[in-house]
């Protein structure tokens, strides 16, 4: 597997966490942890990779206690595999990252990957504990196996989204929830940005509680997914924003529609940015930067936008936070992925140095590639 034009000299595939630890203890070069490889495009450009560590063999569900609403899985378990196991007990996790169900749980955590269920949270909100392997091969854990826990530091939050640059996530404990008794999705197409924005604002200020609220463009569709009690779903379907022609999807049609939406997003190219502002700013962000196409997690103030050139990223960062979601490596060489301020940068850099002083874990991908001069 080539990432950012770099082909790792070797690939190893540990069969257990202990084997992974031994590998890490003996490895002296640059290490590239890889799961299903569904989001290798994300992050600052990889600088070096002597050894790719393929984690897909760590694919065991180590313990699942449905009655406790907890599951403990190795990092290589895929989201599809996880949800399948949960569904047998009528449980699930409201997670549907754009990179799809083939992604591994470890990879989703490493990126804090998200999708239309953003309105119901991200994997960050479901992780209750982790076992990780550190650069020197040491295994350490954080959190625990119970749904509520404030024993020690919440390092699982630190590792989530750290892109495998602090530690390698080896095992994850998750809390779970019961599968929604019913879901239904309402979709409406609006004539222009203004009317779509008005519908979204009605949802934001009103009584509806969608678990997904995606505003897509340029076609100006608003997608609202409701989950929970069937009667509560009914009530919400009866109280959709007025002056729109809502189509309600359920069952297989609903699932297929969301998959099509995911495909549509995954076709965004060549440059995709994630702008972050207040929920009420979504409309303004879309108007001001005029993306060719977009998907907004409209209740969260997050807009994923497609651009033909990177010119808008700098302009956007003067006013909003903006992360490069996807871009050719040439672009990412010029523009940092996260766009951090100095205080954040300094603190994250110190964190990186504390965990990986030689910079051997996924070199360049995260904070150590964030300041172009240091690349």
């Amino acid at each position: 597997m080539t990432i950012d034009g770099i082909l790792p000299a070797r690939t190893v595939r540990p069969q257990s966490i202990e084997e992974l630890a031994e590998l890490m203890a003996s490895e002296r070069g640059a290490i590239l942890p890889v799961g299903a490889g569904t989001q290798t495009f994300f992050g600052n450009p990889l600088r070096l990779a002597d050894c790719a560590v393929d984690l897909t063999s760590l694919s065991r569900i180590t313990e699942y206690v449905p009655a406790d609403l907890t599951i403990h899985v190795e990092a290589g378990v895929t989201l599809a595999q996880l949800q399948r196991a949960l569904l047998e007990n009528n449980q699930f996790l409201p997670l549907d990252p754009w990179n799809g169900p083939a992604a591994t749980v470890g990879g989703i955590a490493a990126v804090n990957a998200q999708g239309p269920y953003r309105a119901a949270g991200t994997i960050r909100d479901w992780i209750i504990g982790m076992k990780v392997v550190e650069i020197d091969g040491r295994i350490s854990k954080t959190g625990g196996r119970v749904v509520k826990n404030v024993t020690g530091y919440d390092l699982q939050k630190l590792y989530t989204g750290s892109l495998g640059t602090l530690v390698i996530i080896a095992e994850i404990s998750l809390k779970l929830r019961a599968k929604f008794a019913r879901t239904a999705t309402a979709v409406a197409r609006f004539g222009d940005v203004e009317t779509a924005a008005a519908a979204v604002a009605t949802v934001r200020k009103g009584a509806l509680q969608p678990v997904s609220c995606v505003w897509t463009g340029p076609e100006n569709e608003v997608w609202l997914r409701f989950g929970e009690d069937p009667r509560a779903v009914d009530w919400q379907l009866k109280n959709l924003p007025p002056l729109a022609d809502w189509t309600v999807l359920e069952g297989a049609d609903e699932a297929a529609a969301w998959e099509r939406l995911r495909d549509r997003f995954n076709d965004f190219a060549p440059i995709v940015t994630r702008a972050v502002g207040l929920p009420s700013a979504v409309h303004e962000i879309i108007k001001e930067y005029r993306p060719q196409a977009w998907m907004a997690h409209a209740l969260n103030g997050i807009v994923l936008m497609q651009f033909a050139s990177p010119a808008e990223i700098g302009r956007m960062r003067q006013k909003y936070r903006a992360v490069i979601e996807r871009a050719p490596v040439e672009v990412r060489r010029e523009i940092p992925t996260f766009g951090l301020n100095d205080a954040e940068y300094e603190l994250m850099k110190r964190m990186k140095d504390a965990f990986d002083p030689e910079g051997r874990l996924n070199p360049g991908r995260h904070i150590d590639g964030e300041r172009v001069a240091q690349r």
Partner: protein, 494 residues
């Protein structure tokens, strides 16, 4: 302490914002956990982040330990000045800076009382979800430090799930902002890392929190059981039925006895061995049916009485019994300590039996009133502080309870934190490698360890003396709870 420091603090803050008088300092010798006490050398009352930063820089210059303190209601000794030094009391930074109704967020200073946020948001139909039992007096800054919970965390998550952005003063005295009002971590999730770090990473000086729309409807009910097993089975059955209750609280016979003999008399059945206070909320449509399903589950598990509150008054009364439980214990003993531990909820019956056995073994009464839905136990140990041997026994019993909970796959704290109280128990849960990694992260934030030293990490140094100005005394506790629950016109739960 070097008198030069006090005079410099006075110069920074003004004389009236610096307390160095030994008698006045007694108030700050402990927090809500009076089993440990130590007097700080000086207490300061900053007005803003800049004040805090200047104090922190001065402390660094003179290498004096310092720590933040909110309302002092913490139950793990997190605000205990173990090495003396400067206590930075944030209670006067108590303004709600803004409520953004459209975006459902509020920006608040750390000294704002938890409940005051919900009260201020109420006219807009919004509220702040995490509701620790001390919500009428605890501060939001303390909640952030401890990642506080509460009965409604079962459905709505802990403090960490509601904090979007923070301004902090670092251990070196820099003012920085982390996070964003969208609550979207960019780069590393430093906000999530700091929340729950028990005031050992940074001092939070401004907080952007998420507000939630009030649910359309709420149903609250009480179910009484003749055995703990049937009661526990009901908890499991409700969860496995796919119901996500807003709260699922356990009350045992001893608690009922105390509550029913007190001003919090809620009409809990006196002959119950255990009872559940169950609340569901959400859309009006469907809620009746959900409540009905729960009643059915209770009956199937041989609940001999199930009472569904028919109106807000009845609902408030059911909650009053639960919330007043701590204040009612004076009926049973002169002193009490609230413990905190968490277990997988399926292990409830055996753990309760074991705690019962310990109670007999130590000759100390235990009342159990806790968050059953998420397995978060709160054994209230009743004792008489006039007998030092009883105090000694509490420490031993606490340790036994911790060991038991860890053995069944649980952990040391569900919502009170480790603080000073439980730091020596940490090796029960974490090995050297785990602790070393946590310490490494602490050093990134707090390299000199001047900020809130001697917390969380084991040092095996005890100082078991009961502090004077917080109390284990049930009569005192009763007075306070009474002032809060009955004295204030606002008996709002959310």
């Amino acid at each position: 302490m070097n008198p030069e420091v006090v005079s410099k603090l006075q110069k920074i803050l003004g004389r009236d914002r610096v307390v160095a008088d030994e008698t006045e300092l007694l108030v700050y010798e402990c927090d809500g956990l009076p089993l440990f006490k130590n007097r700080p050398d000086v207490v300061v009352f900053p007005r803003n982040a800049e004040d805090v930063a200047q104090v922190v820089r001065l402390a660094n210059e003179y290498r004096i330990p310092f720590l933040p303190r909110g309302a002092g209601t913490g139950l793990s000794g997190g605000a205990l000045a173990v090495e003396g030094g400067i206590v930075i009391e944030l209670q006067r930074m108590n303004r709600i800076l803004s409520i953004d109704v459209e975006n459902r967020i509020a920006i608040v200073q750390p000294g704002v009382v938890n409940l005051h946020i919900s009260q201020a948001a109420a006219p807009y139909g919004l509220y702040y979800a995490p509701d620790p039992s001390s919500q009428m007096s605890c501060s939001i800054g303390g909640n952030v430090a401890e990642n506080s919970g509460g009965p409604h965390c079962l459905k709505y998550g802990m403090t960490t799930n509601h904090i979007l952005e923070i301004e902090v003063v670092t251990a070196a005295g820099d003012i920085i902002r982390l996070g964003n009002p969208a609550g979207e971590p960019i780069g590393m999730d430093l906000v999530g890392t700091i929340v729950g770090s028990e005031g050992t990473f940074a001092i939070v000086t401004e907080i952007t929190i998420r507000l939630l729309p009030k649910p359309q409807a709420v149903k609250t009910m009480l179910a009484a059981f003749r055995t703990v097993e049937e009661c526990s089975q009901t908890v499991s059955d409700v969860i496995s039925a796919g119901i996500v209750p807003a709260a699922l609280e356990f009350v045992d016979a001893k608690t009922i006895e105390a509550v029913e003999a007190s001003v919090y008399k809620a009409g809990y059945p006196l002959d119950a061995v255990a009872a559940l206070l169950i609340e569901v909320d959400g859309f009006r449509d469907g809620l009746e049916e959900t409540a009905g399903a729960i009643v059915e589950i209770c009956r199937r598990n041989r609940a001999y009485e199930v009472r569904v509150a028919q109106n807000d008054d009845e609902r408030a009364k059911l909650w009053l019994g639960r919330k007043g439980a701590f204040g009612a214990m004076g009926r049973l003993a002169p002193d009490m300590i609230t413990m905190d531990a968490v277990i997988p909820r399926t292990r409830l019956p055996e753990v309760l039996v074991a705690i019962d056995r310990m109670s007999e073994q130590y000759g100390l009464d235990v009342a159990n009133v806790f968050h059953a839905g998420d397995g978060n136990l709160h054994p209230l140990i009743l004792f008489d502080g006039r007998y030092p041997e009883q105090v000694e026994k509490i420490f031993k019993m606490n340790e036994d309870i911790m060991k038991l909970c860890v053995e069944v796959g649980g952990s040391l704290s569900g919502e009170h934190g480790i603080g000073f109280e439980k730091k020596d128990f940490m090796p029960l849960v974490y090995n050297d490698a785990d602790l070393e990694t946590m310490l490494r992260v602490k050093r990134v934030f707090n390299p000199e360890s001047l900020l809130n030293p001697e917390k969380i990490f084991p040092t095996h140094r005890g100082c078991a003396e009961i502090g004077k100005h917080s109390t284990t005394n049930t009569a005192e506790i009763s007075k306070r709870v009474e002032a809060i629950l009955l004295g204030s016109p606002e008996k709002v739960q959310r």
